[in-house]
Assembly symmetry: C2
Homo-oligomer: 189 residues x 2
């Protein structure tokens, strides 16, 4: 599978050192086929991000089920930290965030992934307008910042806390960004 080969390579070598040729080899397809299918390394990176953070999983966490934790922030933070801590995705998450912050082409790919998938999916649940996108972004800023300091730079005491302590500390922030009254939150009109 081309995307899973791309995900594997990007996760192991980072964005800059990964070549289309290496992904093609890993997926046993012709490099020209890869270019035909995806257009560029940047687009391939963007699509492979979806294999690691599936926007539908975030949407499921947002909407919740009857059996779930009733608080939306608790569901979101727990789901997000779960992806960072699961053995099959933790290395990918680290390399992907490092790549997305260090390389300008990877910035563009990450931006596209956020805008076209994450923010569209999450804000869709919240009503789909510009205010909903901003709410989703504010929640994302809290989650991304937590992951940076806890999993990437590993700064104690945040990196040493049990997961559920982090969920309890950060969830109210996410709940507020997603659900507080627009006036109270100070959303621009």
């Amino acid at each position: 599978m081309v995307l899973s080969a791309a995900k594997t390579r990007f996760a192991r070598d980072g964005y800059e050192k990964t070549t289309l040729r290496a992904i093609a080899e890993e997926a046993r397809v012709d490099p020209s086929m890869l270019l035909y299918l995806f257009g560029s390394k940047e687009e391939l990176f963007r699509e492979s991000l979806r294999l690691i953070i599936d926007p539908e999983v975030l949407v499921a966490a947002l909407t919740g089920t009857g059996d779930d934790e009733p608080d939306i922030g608790t569901r979101m933070v727990r789901t997000y930290l779960g992806v960072w801590e699961a053995p099959e995705s933790s290395a990918s998450m680290r390399t992907m965030l490092a790549s997305a912050t260090s390389n300008p082409d990877a910035h563009a790919a990450f931006r596209g992934f956020m805008q076209n998938y994450v923010l569209t999916a999450v804000s869709g649940v919240l009503g789909g307008d510009e205010q909903a996108r901003l709410r989703a972004m504010l929640a994302a800023s809290s989650l991304v910042g937590t992951a940076m300091l806890r999993y990437l730079i590993c700064v104690p005491p945040l990196s040493d806390l049990p997961t559920e302590d982090v969920v309890r500390l950060v969830a109210p922030t996410v709940t507020r960004y997603l659900t507080a009254d627009a006036d109270e939150l100070g959303l621009p009109l």
Copy 2:
């Protein structure tokens, strides 16, 4: 000045591509003197971070003056976004954050900078114990995440908002982390 030469080089070329030799040349000192003074590239990076984000400036924002905005979160977020937006520091901030997230040695330097300077200075104002360090970290997670999405990856709508809109949106989160009752916040004992 050695540190300002280091800051300039790291900001222009990033952590990985900057050599001790290049910094020594820029500062017109012998590379062996540089090693003698700082021990390693990693330590030099950590020290040069202090030229960009001065922990004392953050402490001043925390304590405030009589003429200031009374809200602690508003002072902190405004000061931090100011460093990101000032012409003399914005390029440095971008390169430094990108370096700090992408290179394992730079992780260690950034972690040392956070632990030894930022968290110690900020938590000192808040009482100096382990709970104060965790409060400072939670505030940092909100600030770092906002900067990542607004200034590094540049994702709209967060990247398009006027600065004061972002201050108004994020300040209550920082205020809560720094000042809310420990029980309400859910701090571990």
